[in-house]
């Protein structure tokens, strides 16, 4: 099978399944999503093998090349995030099949499956797209399906969170689109490979870059534009929270990386990068401190996301320094391992909240004895979130630290250390409650289906495995990397 066919199938398959699940309705959604998730794992593995063997590739869809057609681009950055989507997506699909099977969740479940399949389509299309306007369309597909999924619970708080998310992220998308319009007006193309050759640090190039950057940091919830994230991520059903925190934010970050390092490398400036990195450092501190102060488990994990997003912005300053490759690797390593760990944490918390009936951690005293697997999964996810060895989070933060240190940026080098310490505090606070002696003799803890207990653990283990198996992911990341100086990009 050629790369062309694999890339096309990755987009067409979930899209067709989404339409089928919507049209057929009833109970057809879960089996379709399971089939798509399995196929996706295979297709992404094939794509990764092909990229590792032959390097970055351009797929001319339907044989129409740019500028007339819209190209897909397959490189290490895209394939790594596709792999994260495939792994986390398979976990979420299995978990959701059990989660929405409970009485009382079935009607939400019927609406969930078509939206979830659409979301998978949007992820695959985003990470393969080679065109700035196409990225806008996939981003909107992602946003609109996410809005529907946040509102699934149907309560006032969930509806309000969904509306707020819709308004804020649509404004962000339109800022991005205005940047795309200026780009087309100035350069006559929106293919980011072609834009890179034409863009210059003049007024129009700077305006386009600034508009896109602001729009995308709103969508990525970078401090201080994070205000919409905690309600949206905490009110959604558990599988949806896992996807929103683990994957959706990575899609807008991915577009920002494409814009900043692939389309407009001639326009970016050290000062702009330092501003983004400064906001990232502030996000790490602010998000972590707020996470420590929360008393609902889902809000703790949501604020942890605000913090972890901050690390991913350090690269914008470090890329201008002496060791950009280390920063690039560290950032993407963190993006992928955080996707697994954060999904594991939200799913484990979702299982515990379902068992106890609330996610107020004051009510969680002593439940570790009743639900050891979920608590262990949460703790293991915490190992990656705080960046302890041997997790993927440790490798990522080590790379970022090395990059900052070799660049002499000691302020930025401190950020992963302080953030890691605070992450250990907020995770241990939850775990400690579950281990403490219960107030009453009887602990209220309903049994949970096996899938809902073991899937979080599997995802937490995947995040740990990222710290053990490092050769292939790092090799993959250098393919098509803007900093792999010796390897000239193929386009």
């Amino acid at each position: 099978v050629t790369v062309d066919a694999v890339a096309a199938l990755l987009i067409v398959l979930p899209a067709a399944a989404a339409v089928t699940a919507f049209a057929a309705g009833g109970r057809s959604g879960a089996p379709l999503a399971i089939a798509v998730s399995v196929a996706q794992l295979g297709l992404v593995a094939a794509l990764a093998a092909s990229v590792l063997a032959h390097g970055a590739q351009v797929v001319q869809v339907g044989g129409w090349g740019a500028p007339l057609g819209i190209d897909l681009r397959v490189d290490g950055l895209g394939v790594l995030l596709l792999a994260a989507v495939a792994v986390v997506g398979a976990g979420v699909t299995a978990y959701a099949a059990a989660y929405f099977d409970a009485p009382g969740s079935r009607s939400a479940g019927r609406a969930f499956w078509p939206l979830w399949l659409l979301q998978l389509t949007a992820f695959d299309a985003t990470f393969l797209s080679g065109d700035l306007f196409n990225l806008y369309v996939t981003l909107e597909l992602l946003t609109l399906s996410a809005v529907g999924m946040i509102g699934l619970a149907g309560e006032v708080r969930a509806l309000a969170a969904a509306v707020r998310y819709l308004v804020v992220t649509l404004a962000g998308s339109l800022l991005y689109l205005l940047g795309v319009a200026l780009t087309y007006g100035a350069y006559g193309t929106v293919d980011w490979g072609a834009v890179a050759a034409l863009s210059q640090p003049d007024a129009i190039g700077r305006s386009a870059l600034a508009l896109m950057t602001v729009g995308l940091i709103v969508k990525t919830a970078l401090f201080p534009m994070h205000f919409w994230l905690p309600p949206a991520h905490a009110e959604a059903p558990a599988p949806v929270s896992a996807v929103l925190s683990g994957l959706v934010l990575k899609a807008s970050l991915f577009i920002l990386l494409r814009v900043w390092f692939f389309a407009f490398p001639a326009v970016t400036s050290l000062r702009g990068g330092q501003l983004l990195a400064g906001l990232g450092a502030a996000a790490v501190l602010w998000g972590s401190i707020q996470a420590v102060r929360q008393h609902r488990a889902k809000r703790i994990i949501a604020y942890s996301t605000v913090a972890q997003i901050g690390y991913l912005f350090l690269v914008f300053a470090l890329a201008e320094g002496d060791a950009p490759t280390l920063a690039w690797r560290g950032t993407l390593y963190l993006a992928a391992s955080h996707a697994c760990a954060k999904a594991a944490a939200f799913l484990a918390v979702g299982t515990l909240a379902r068992q106890v009936g609330t996610d107020e951690i004051a009510q969680w005293r002593g439940i570790a004895r009743e639900a050891p697997v979920s608590v262990f999964a949460l703790g293991l996810a915490g190992v990656t979130l705080s960046g302890l060895p041997p997790s993927g989070g440790f490798v990522a933060k080590w790379l970022l630290l090395q990059s900052a240190a070799s660049d002499g940026q000691w302020g930025l080098a401190l950020v992963p250390l302080v953030g890691g310490l605070l992450a250990a505090v907020y995770v241990l606070r939850v775990v400690e409650v579950t281990l403490s002696r219960p107030a009453a003799e009887e602990v209220r803890c309903e049994p949970a289906p096996a899938v809902m207990r073991w899937v979080p653990l599997a995802l937490a283990l995947a995040a740990i495995a990222f710290g053990v198996v490092t050769t292939e992911p790092l090799q993959l990341l250098d393919i098509g990397s803007p900093f792999a100086g010796l390897q000239e990009p193929a386009w």
């Binding site: 500028p67 509306v163 819709l166 339109l174 795309v180 929360q294």
Partner: protein, 126 residues
Amino acid sequence: VTDPRLFAVCGVVLFGMGLYEVVVAGHLVRRLIALNLMSAGVFLVLVTLGSSSGGPTPGVSSGGPTPGVSSGGPTPGSPGDPVPHAMVLTGLVVSISATALGLTLVRRLHAETGHAQLPDVPTDMP
């Protein structure tokens, strides 16, 4: 002939007015209308920049097959360039879908709470 850049500036002004209203408005329907104003502004910029002779170097000249140029057809930046029109049409579809979804959610919120405003200002308090 009017300078097409005038329309582009109008588009940016519309966009700014919409953005201001999205931030300050309380009523959710007003905010949705303001979002549509922003879209209209972007579309105006796209169409006018597409039809001005504007860009310094069309992207197609950077190499690769250039069917439009070689056949003497419309080039990017020329009045007949269809690409911005296609983008605007795509953008309209997205905008209409998003507005419909937003209005549905606002109606649900109105039915549940009796008003069409976000219930609280989100704060970082626990």
